[in-house]
């Protein structure tokens, strides 16, 4: 059966290692396959690898046993050589995936169906990093000059951008970027024959148009459903909506160093550096109201900057104190800002679900304790450079944890900013003790001890109120009433999972 699938944007490229971007991965998962992937609960599951384990006697080596009898669309057999080639390609200079494999020193094929990854040190969580690294055929790639990932400077198109040869359940039949792509079922796929035999994939950028297309029966499945339309769609005959939590937390951050703020009326000090101010702010944010009104019930309020899938998450961390404006007002006075202060809040407006509206709601809430917030809302392409250059005082950001482990958050968000760590530590939070603990996590193999350290770090982060988390995003897929597709926590649904009535 043909499935007409629409979402907001298109895969950027079909070159599997060129972009580390969700939409691209989702599309490529139908053509290429990874060694491991995640089920709809977020658990790792076997795909091209049937088994994986740390090599006995050497904590620094990961062993993957490969599925036998798998062939590429071009007929080539899938072997360990292909894995070695693909991982090396993913690690190569122009690859956007290389960060995930930074700890891999080398990959070697032991035999046709066994591969060994030599890590720089003990890396107990490494398998979490390979769920989006696709395996290409070595022969085909070399033939088509694909050893390197696309290099823009060369000014030439890479063969893999529009041509594919994967092992996945579907074969690319037609591709017109941004317009329409057609995938047909791979009869020789190793898995169970999927119910969907043809996929017509159409990106529709405009929210209203996309919803209209489903309502008028021109498409069968819509991803990126605006939250406000969920109710209407669910209430329409012949249409149903599946919802589920996403692996992404929306949070606010602020400059925490001692430099005065750029945008504030307080020019001699940084009010955010004052813990009392931060406490007051976290007390006035009414997450429940945001959930109900802004998110139409489609969010999971949280007070810790990670979704429940992530290792390190606990209910206690997640729980929020009650909103208490009075106490917050007192705290502000105590902090020396009885009349509040002014600051600019930077938010993207095209990146997360209702990002601008969330920010706007928070502006109102902070107003109640005298913090006079100017809202600056921009497309993410302008928001990102701004915050990455620390040109912001106060910002909104969403953070997903593809490795499902807290270390991922710590490395990028909590560790003091330097060349290697803290890329997204925009508030320039810096605590040497915490840094030390974070660095130690990378090589710890005793998972219990490691989890204890994670708990310690979170305790410190929460105490210092490094973030003001708001909620975890909820995903919604709207579809024809006679089909079912479960929500995937990484928003990477597979059409092989579609069931028709």
């Amino acid at each position: 059966e043909t499935l007409r699938w629409a979402r907001q944007s298109d895969a950027l490229t079909l070159d599997p290692h060129s972009q580390n971007q969700g939409v691209t991965h989702t599309f490529n998962h139908h053509i290429y396959e990874t060694l491991l992937d995640r089920d709809v609960e977020g658990n790792l599951q076997a795909r091209l690898a049937t088994d994986w384990y740390v090599k006995e006697g050497d904590e620094t080596v990961w062993v993957f046993e490969l599925r036998e009898g798998v062939t590429f669309h071009g007929g080539e057999e899938f072997t360990a050589e292909d894995v070695v080639f693909s991982i090396e390609r993913a690690k190569s200079e122009n690859s956007n995936m290389r960060q995930l494999h930074a700890d891999v020193e080398s990959v070697a094929a032991v035999d046709d169906y066994t591969v060994e990854f030599q890590m720089a040190g003990p890396s107990p969580l490494y398998p979490n990093n390979i769920t989006n690294t696709f395996i290409m055929d070595k022969g085909w790639s070399e033939e088509n000059d694909l050893t390197e990932v696309q290099d823009f400077a060369a000014g030439e198109e890479n063969f893999a951008v529009r041509n594919t040869n994967g092992t996945g359940p579907y074969v690319l039949a037609e591709r017109d970027p941004d317009v329409r792509s057609v995938l047909t079922v791979n009869e020789d796929w190793w898995g169970d024959a999927p119910a969907v035999t043809e996929i017509v994939y159409t990106p529709i950028a405009d929210n209203a148009t996309r919803v209209a297309a489903l309502l008028s029966g021109e498409v069968d499945l819509v991803q990126d459903v605006p939250v406000q339309d969920i109710e209407r769609l669910a209430g329409t005959d012949g249409i149903k909506v599946e919802t589920g939590p996403e692996n992404r937390t929306i949070y606010f951050g602020y400059a925490m160093d001692d430099e005065p703020l750029i945008s504030s009326n307080i020019t001699d000090e940084n009010p955010f550096a004052n813990p009392l101010v931060r406490e007051a702010m976290s007390l006035v944010i009414d997450r429940e109201a945001i959930r109900q009104v802004v998110m139409r019930g489609q969010s999971l309020p949280t007070c810790v900057n990670m979704p429940p899938f992530v290792n390190g998450w606990t209910e206690e961390l997640d729980a929020c104190p009650a909103v208490d404006v009075e106490r917050a007002t007192e705290l502000m006075a105590e902090a020396g800002y009885p009349d509040g202060f002014s600051v600019t809040l930077d938010t993207p407006n095209d990146r997360y679900v209702n990002d601008e509206a969330i920010a706007q709601a928070v502006v109102g809430m902070l107003g109640q304790i005298g913090i006079d917030v100017t809202l600056a809302s921009r497309p993410v392409a302008q928001h990102s450079p701004l915050i990455l250059n620390n040109e912001t005082d106060f910002y909104l950001l969403g953070w997903g944890v593809p490795t499902f482990d807290s270390a991922y958050n710590f490395n990028d968000l909590v560790h003091t900013k330097d060349d290697e760590y803290g890329t997204y530590n925009i508030g320039l939070y810096s605590n040497p003790e915490v840094d030390e603990m974070i660095e130690s996590l990378g090589t710890m193999t005793d998972l219990d001890a490691r989890n204890a350290v994670i708990a310690d770090i979170w305790a410190q982060v929460q105490e210092d109120r490094v973030f003001i988390p708001v909620h975890n995003q909820v995903l919604a897929y709207a579809m024809r009433g006679d089909m079912t597709l479960a929500v995937h926590p990484e928003n990477q649904p597979s059409m092989t999972g579609v069931v028709f009535e």
């Binding site: 009104v293 706007q360 107003g367």
Partner: protein, 312 residues
């Protein structure tokens, strides 16, 4: 043989009432209705702080839980919203009043800016002629061939790069005015140039040149008053277009900050709720925008006909 003019001079007011324009106005129901609508909308916008039951631009007064209250009903916190509330719990009625204010302010300033620029360049081009004229009119041609939205997008991009980050928000409205204005001047320049070329041939200009009046003064004091008629007409129609351009820019996400929404921003926000049933968030601002643009356009139309003696 002393032929003294018979009629005694009338008072200014009597002259206005007696004028052809006023007569044409009195006999045109369209002009009357649209001017009333426009006046009401403009006054409502000017006096928004006195009329509006709430201050939608003050985030402190908002209660998020009041969001999506339908028209004529009581909200979560017990406030009454005549035209309902939006997704932030803002009173739509107040938001429209304040929003019209922003829209009108942007529209008027932009068109004023365009007018000053266009009229100045048009006068110079028409009076100087030659190379000056060619250059100015070529630029105007290019400008006309690019849709104003594109030009505004370009300028918006550039401005955002130039202005330091902490001033961007406060400057946004000026950038908006500047970009819309800059994309509209060519209309004025073309018209004014045409009229200027006709006027400068007239003998009253020669008469002024004979006694050595400087070109600047000839342009300002003699020619300018004679080109203002068509300028006024384009101005009115341009005002409507500027208001819509602002709305479109807001739709593209480069408008005023969402905490101080213009009509266009309100529409952009409202259109998200078209399918979900909260029609009032879109409908009322849209109607206001249409009424405003329509009445201003109709006034411009009428003025064009009224100022054209051949159509009387």
């Amino acid at each position: 043989m002393n032929d003294i003019t018979p009629t005694a001079p009338k008072s200014r007011f009597a002259r206005i009432v007696d004028s052809d324009i006023f007569y044409s106005y009195r006999t045109s129901p369209v002009a009357i209705v649209s001017s009333i609508v426009a006046t009401v909308l403009i006054l409502a916008a000017i006096f928004a702080p006195f009329i509006a039951p709430y201050d939608p631009f003050n985030p402190r007064t908002l209660n998020l839980m009041n969001g999506f209250t339908p028209p004529m009903s009581e909200s979560f916190s017990g406030s009454f919203f005549m035209l309902g509330s939006d997704h932030q719990g803002r009173d739509v009625f107040s938001a429209i009043l304040y929003g019209s204010r922003v829209s009108l302010m942007v529209g008027l300033s932009a068109i004023l800016f365009a007018m000053v620029l266009g009229v100045t360049l048009g006068l110079i081009a028409g009076y100087r002629g030659g190379l000056t004229d060619t250059i100015i009119m070529r630029v105007a041609d290019v400008q006309l061939s690019f849709p104003s939205i594109l030009i505004a997008l370009l300028i918006f991009g550039i401005a955002r790069g130039i202005i330091p980050p902490n001033q961007r928000e406060s400057m946004a409205i000026f950038v908006l005015i500047f970009s819309i204005g800059l994309s509209d001047w060519a209309q004025f320049a073309r018209t004014v140039r045409g009229t200027t070329m006709v006027e400068r041939q007239k003998d009253y200009v020669s008469a002024a040149r004979i006694i050595g009046v400087k070109p600047v003064f000839i342009l300002i004091r003699h020619i300018l008053p004679n080109v203002l008629g068509p300028v006024l007409v384009i101005g009115t129609i341009g005002l409507a277009l500027a208001i819509i351009a602002e709305a479109t820019l807001s739709f593209l996400g480069v408008g005023v900050p969402p905490t101080q929404p213009s009509l266009g921003t309100l529409i952009r926000i409202g259109q998200q709720f078209l399918f979900s049933g909260e029609w009032w968030i879109l409908f009322f601002p849209a109607i206001t925008l249409v009424l405003l643009a329509l009445s201003v356009n109709l006034l411009g139309d009428w003025l064009r006909d009224a100022l054209n003696p051949r159509l009387r």
